[in-house]
Amino acid sequence: MKKESKMWRDNVRGIFYIALKDIKTYYFKPPAVSWGIVFPITWIAAFYLRNPGNFKELVPGLIAMTILFSTTAAEAVVINFELRLGSLERLLLAPISIASVLLGKVLGGVIFGFLMTTVVTIGSVIMLRLHFNVLHLILIIVPSLFVFSSLGALLCVMVREVFEAQTLLNLPRFLMVFLSGVVYPVSKMPIALRYVAYALPLSYTVDGLQLSFSGGLSKMIYFYTLILFGFFILFIFPAVKLLHKKFE
C-alpha cells in the first residue's frame, strides 16, 4: 500500500515537472502565443468585420477557439520534436509511467491554454460588460482544456515528424471551427451537419459557454461537462496506448 502511494506521488510529481519544463521551454514563445491567442482574435475580428452585428454573440466562439488553439499550439513541438531529438525517451527513462509522461505533456497545454483563455475571457467581459456565471464557465472551460490538449496529444503520437503532426492537427481544428458553432450557429445548419457538429467536442464547449453567458440551465452545463469528460477519456487512453506501442 505504502509502495503504491509512493509510486502515485512519483507520477504526480513527474506530471507536474514535465508540464512546468514544457511551459518554460516551449510555450510563451512567439509562435505558441500567436497561434494560441492572436490567431483566434484575428479570425473572430475578421468574421465580425465581414458581418458586423452584435460582437457579444461571438464571444463564446472566441473563447472556444482560444481554448482549442492555445492548448494545441505547441504540442507538435513538445511531443514530436522531443521524439525526434530523443528527449522524450529521456523522460521515459525516469521512474514514472508512460501515461504520466503523456499527462505531463497534456497538462502543459492545459496550463498554457488556461492562461490564454483567462486573458481572452476577462478582456471580453470587461470590454463588453458581459454577465456570466463563474461556476458554469469553469465547468465548461476546464474540461475543454483537457479535451483539446489530449486530442492534440493523440494526433501527435500518431505520427513521427513535427510537420506531419502540424498538418494532422489542422484538420480537426478547422473542421471544428466551421462546424461547431464558433461563427455560425449549429441550429441554423442543415440537419446532417448538425449530427456531425454534435460528434465534435467543440460544439459542447461553444454551447456551454453560450449558456454560461446567457444564464442558461445548470443541468445542461453539467451534462456538457460530463460529455467533455467523456471526450477526454476517449482521447487520452488511445494516446497513451499509442505511445506505449512506439516503445515496445
Binding site: Y17, K21, Y26, L85, S87, L92, P95
Partner: protein, 254 residues
C-alpha cells in the same frame, strides 16, 4: 543468491518482426565492475540496453537488475540506475543547471538537496563556469559530460553508458574515460557499450563480445587477448568474431 551480482540476464531475446535483434543472451554483471558490451554496429548492444532500462519490452527471456524484474518492477529499477544514451538528449533551451535541476525533480531528489547536487556535479564535470549557458551552446564533449552528469543526479548504483565517446575528439574522449574511471572508483557499476575496443581494453574488467545478437564470449580483456594469442583487444575481437579473414582480404586488396 549471490548479492554481488547486480545484473542477471537469462535467455533475453528481442525480435522486430522477422529480425532477431537479440538472440537468447545470458550474462551476469558483478557489483562495482565495468562491464563492456562490445560488438560491431547492429550487433544488438543498444537493443539490450533499451530492454534493461525499460525502453523496450523483451520478446522472450528474463532479466533482473539489483534483484528487480525488468518486466514487473521497472520503476524500482529506474530509480536505481542512470542511463547515458548514445545521443546527448538533454534540453537545448534549458541551461546546464536547469537541465540538472529538472532531472533531479523527475527522479525525486529531495528539494533541499537538488541545487547542491547539481552544483556538485557541474564542478566535478568542470562545467560550473558555464552553468547558466544553454545546452545548445555546448560543444559535443561538454554535452556528453552534462548528459553523464544528468544520469548521476540521483546517485544511481548502476550506470548504463551507450557509446559514450562516439564523435568526441581525442582530448574530450580521454577526459571522459578518466571520468568513467573515477566513477568506478566511487563504486558505481558501469555497463558500457562501445565499438572502440581500445577504450574497452582500458576501462573494462570484463567484456562480452556480441555479434548478430548473440554473445560469443565473456571474459577479462587480458584473458581474451591471451586466449587468442593477440596483443590488442581489437585483434582478439577480430579473431573471435571471425572478421579477421575479411580484414586481411581488404588489406591484401590494397
Amino acid at each position: 543468491m549471490n548479492t554481488d551480482i547486480v545484473i542477471r540476464v537469462s535467455d533475453l531475446t528481442k525480435r522486430y518482426g522477422e529480425i532477431l535483434a537479440v538472440d537468447h543472451i545470458s550474462f551476469e554483471v558483478n557489483k562495482g565492475e565495468v562491464f563492456g558490451f562490445l560488438g560491431p554496429n547492429g550487433a544488438g548492444k543498444t537493443t539490450t540496453i533499451r530492454m534493461l532500462t525499460g525502453l523496450s519490452k523483451p520478446t522472450n527471456g528474463k532479466a533482473s537488475i539489483l534483484g528487480f524484474d525488468i518486466n514487473s518492477e521497472i520503476t524500482q529499477i529506474k530509480k536505481r540506475i542512470g542511463v547515458v544514451p548514445e545521443i546527448s538528449n538533454l534540453y537545448d533551451e534549458l541551461s546546464a543547471f536547469d537541465n540538472l535541476l529538472f532531472m533531479a525533480q523527475l527522479y525525486g531528489v529531495l528539494s533541499r538537496d537538488r541545487k547542491k547536487k547539481a552544483e556538485e556535479l557541474l564542478k566535478t564535470f568542470r562545467l560550473y563556469e558555464r552553468k547558466d549557458s544553454l545546452f545548445r551552446t555546448f560543444s559535443r564533449g561538454m554535452k556528453r559530460a552534462l548528459t553523464i552528469a544528468a544520469a548521476l543526479i540521483h546517485n544511481p548504483e548502476i550506470l548504463f553508458l551507450d557509446e559514450p565517446t562516439v564523435g568526441l575528439d581525442v582530448v574530450a574522449a580521454r577526459s571522459l574515460r578518466n571520468l568513467i574511471s573515477n566513477l568506478r572508483q566511487q563504486g558505481i557499476t558501469i555497463f558500457l557499450t562501445t565499438h572502440y575496443l581500445e577504450e574497452a581494453d582500458l576501462l573494462c574488467d570484463r567484456a562480452a563480445i556480441l555479434v548478430k545478437g548473440r554473445i560469443l564470449v565473456i571474459d577479462n580483456p587480458q584473458v581474451l587477448k591471451a586466449k587468442t594469442d593477440k596483443k590488442s583487444l581489437e585483434e582478439a575481437f577480430m579473431k573471435i568474431t571471425g572478421l579477421e579473414p575479411e580484414v586481411l582480404a581488404i588489406e591484401k586488396g590494397k
